[in-house]
Amino acid sequence: MFFESFTDVVPSFFGMLNQGPLTLTLFLHTFIVLPMFWIYASEKKRLNK
């Protein structure tokens, strides 16, 4: 199975995300990096003006 059954003692939001290879950390990294595309685009717009 790609997704494992829950192994930790207490189920929690972060524990749920932590049920496959690197799922939790990939989720958090993506969440942090994505808005930077928007920051990049808005800076580009500001510089072009």
């Binding site: 192994t7 003692v9 207490v10 929690s12 939001f13 972060f14 958090l28 969440f31 942090i32 808005p35 930077m36 920051i39 990049y40 800076e43 580009k44 500001r46 510089l47 072009n48």
Partner: protein, 223 residues
């Protein structure tokens, strides 16, 4: 206008805004994670123990139970297993008494500066053995090397005797100094160690539960 002046990659405001976003969001995540973890590592209650509810950090009354450290198929590492009741210093401790004893023990562990020779949960100094699962150490059990040395017949009595007069029971050229630990403080420290051994440390230290027999034969399974 020169093209490179337009590059976002060399724009200070871009990096400043990105730094602010990443720092702010990481901080919020850390605070959120902290709330989640706090809920999971706060001490359980005596009722949890009676109803066999597994807590990462059990109540102080865990000292009334037999504790083992066993491989869990599901978790993929060893976990503490709380078993049947057993007397601790010859009696069963009420929740109030147990909490007071653990409090004395934790306070003594700080007052005597244990952490600047030993490691607790793996943190501290590296001059003396790790104490995370010291309560479960085969050396302190019946048939181990340390228990008969003190002339006592239970783990808790042997440990507290050692703690009160460590330099009378040398186990190595590197000895524990006499820290003027009183009988009560020693009881507290042993309760603190027993409680710590019941904490779910995600399998640290790994492969700890070697039997006394394995130690006697030089730590291998050879016959």
């Amino acid at each position: 206008m020169a093209q490179e002046n337009l590059s976002v990659w060399t724009s200070i405001p871009f990096w400043r805004r990105s730094a602010a976003w990443v720092t702010g969001f990481a901080t919020i995540l850390l605070i959120w994670l902290t709330f989640d973890t706090m809920g999971q590592i706060s001490m359980g209650t005596d009722a949890d123990l009676q109803q066999r509810v597994t807590k990462r950090v059990p109540a102080a009354t865990v000292i009334n139970y037999h504790i083992e450290y066993k491989m869990s198929e599901k978790r993929g590492h060893e976990v503490p297993v709380i078993g049947k009741k057993e007397p601790f210093f010859g009696k069963e401790w009420s929740p109030k008494e147990a909490a007071a004893l653990l409090h004395l023990g934790k306070l003594t562990s700080q007052a005597k500066n244990c952490m600047n020779c030993h490691t607790l949960l793996g943190n501290g100094a590296y001059f003396a053995p790790d104490l995370t699962k010291a309560w479960l150490d085969p050396a302190w059990q019946k048939g181990g090397a340390l228990q008969p040395m003190t002339g006592k017949s239970t783990v808790e009595e042997a440990m507290s005797e050692f703690l009160m007069h460590p330099s009378q029971y040398p186990t190595h050229a590197r000895m524990m100094p006499d820290l003027k630990i009183t009988a009560d403080e020693a009881k507290g420290l042993v309760a603190f160690l027993k409680h710590m051994s019941s904490i779910d440390t995600n399998g640290f230290p790994r492969n700890f539960s070697k039997t006394v027999d394995q130690f006697k034969t030089g730590g291998t399974n050879a016959h």
